[in-house]
């Protein structure tokens, strides 16, 4: 397990109170949230932030198709989690609650038409490699520039295929394939039955299978 470095936040953390340790890291999300609820524990909130910032930003970026907007929405999710700490009741998994907030925010943002089509910003976020690196160094340890380009093109095609899915299907695929949540969790987040979710997922993956047929063919061979 990767050790967390001390927090340098100006307001939330007091260096004397930094106490990241193994025990804190293995606490469940619900326990962390209950600590935040009971004492406003900054360290517990910080652990939740560090654990879920990437999944949230990834989910939201692919939902609203804009990285800047995704980060704003992810910040809003954390803020809402913090605000709602007093009324938090662990009736469901923490991830269900958090992704439900995220999903509602994303769907509202899409509905409001506040998102922008900025594929460039998405491309910038792809951390495949550094184009400026000398080719001999790439050839030595990493995929060549051509392979890098191919990988980038393939990623763009996959990204586009996912983006073209209807909003709810896209959310279902992102939560199922990339967040690996259980069916009952996704069903709760998207407010539908498990049977409806399975049907939604089947239709979404069927669309992706057709849309990505060229890549799927290459993968098969």
């Amino acid at each position: 397990m990767r050790a967390l470095e001390p927090v340098n936040g100006p307001q939330l953390s007091d260096p004397t109170r930094v106490r990241y340790n193994v025990e804190a890291m293995v606490r469940s999300d619900v326990q962390l949230m209950l600590d935040v609820k009971a004492t406003g524990d900054e360290v517990s909130f910080e652990l939740l932030l560090r654990k879920y910032r990437c999944p949230l930003v990834n989910f939201l970026a692919r939902m609203v198709r804009d990285r800047g907007m995704a980060e704003e929405l992810a910040q809003e999710v954390f803020l809402r989690v913090y605000r709602a700490r007093k009324g938090y009741a662990p009736s469901a998994k923490f991830t269900t609650w958090m992704f439900r907030i995220a999903s509602n925010l994303a769907l509202n943002a899409i509905r409001d038409g506040r998102y922008r089509q900025l594929e460039i910003s998405m491309d910038q976020s792809v951390e495949i490699g550094d184009d400026r690196a000398p080719s001999w160094e790439v050839a030595d340890r990493r995929p060549g520039a051509e392979q890098e380009l191919i990988a980038r093109d393939r990623a763009a095609i996959i990204q586009r295929a996912i983006e073209q899915l209807p909003d709810k299907q896209r959310a279902a695929v992102l939560l199922h394939k990339y967040q690996e949540l259980d069916y009952d969790e996704i069903a709760r987040i998207l407010e539908c039955s498990e049977a409806a979710l399975k049907s939604l997922l089947f239709r979404a993956y069927e669309t992706l299978r057709v849309q990505l047929a060229p890549l799927v063919g290459q993968q098969k061979s």
Partner: protein
């Protein structure tokens, strides 16, 4: 199991969440149906293709932005904040209520005077006050002389209105 029924178990089969019996059912069907076997191969490939999508890393300033926004969360103070039920508030309201009831139920202490005698007393007090005022004025020391001075009776009862320009 037919092809249509397979669709309901398709996703669980590929994401590994299908039960052992469901897996056996799907595999038995795939052994006998070429079209579904072909589709299964495509699904396996699709699973791998979707894994190629790289993860997006949050910007370096993300954590700081969250901390800033959380830190700026001051408790909202509304004008009704004071109205939160508390023992102190309950005590104050009770005292106010007791005082109101006590004032309302208190008998009146001053007996009202009869109307006729009140009028007489008022008239007497008024004439005495008039006399005292006249008596005190230096210009009207000789009251009798002035009241009996005939020339004064020729004057109009009310003084003429002053022209506006003199104001």
């Amino acid at each position: 199991m037919n092809c249509e029924k397979l669709e309901t178990k398709w996703i669980a089969y590929f994401d590994g969440k299908a039960s052992a019996s469901e897996r056996r059912d799907v595999e038995a069907h795939l052994d006998t149906c070429g079209a579904c076997a072909q589709r299964a191969a495509e699904y396996r490939a699709l699973w791998g293709v979707l894994d190629e999508l790289p993860a997006i890393a949050p910007s370096a300033s993300f954590d700081a932005a969250v901390r800033r926004r959380v830190a700026s969360e001051v408790p909202t103070r509304t004008s009704w904040k004071w109205f939160v039920p508390s023992p102190r508030l309950a005590f104050a309201v009770s005292c106010l209520l007791v005082l109101s009831v006590w004032f309302a139920s208190r008998p009146a202490q001053v007996e009202p005077l009869p109307v006729a005698s009140a009028t007489a007393v008022t008239a007497q007090a008024s004439s005495e006050a008039d006399f005292r005022m006249i008596n005190d004025l230096p210009e009207l020391e000789n009251y009798d002389v002035l009241t009996n001075f005939d020339a004064l009776s020729d004057l109009p009862a009310t003084p003429a209105a002053q022209p506006a320009s003199h104001m």
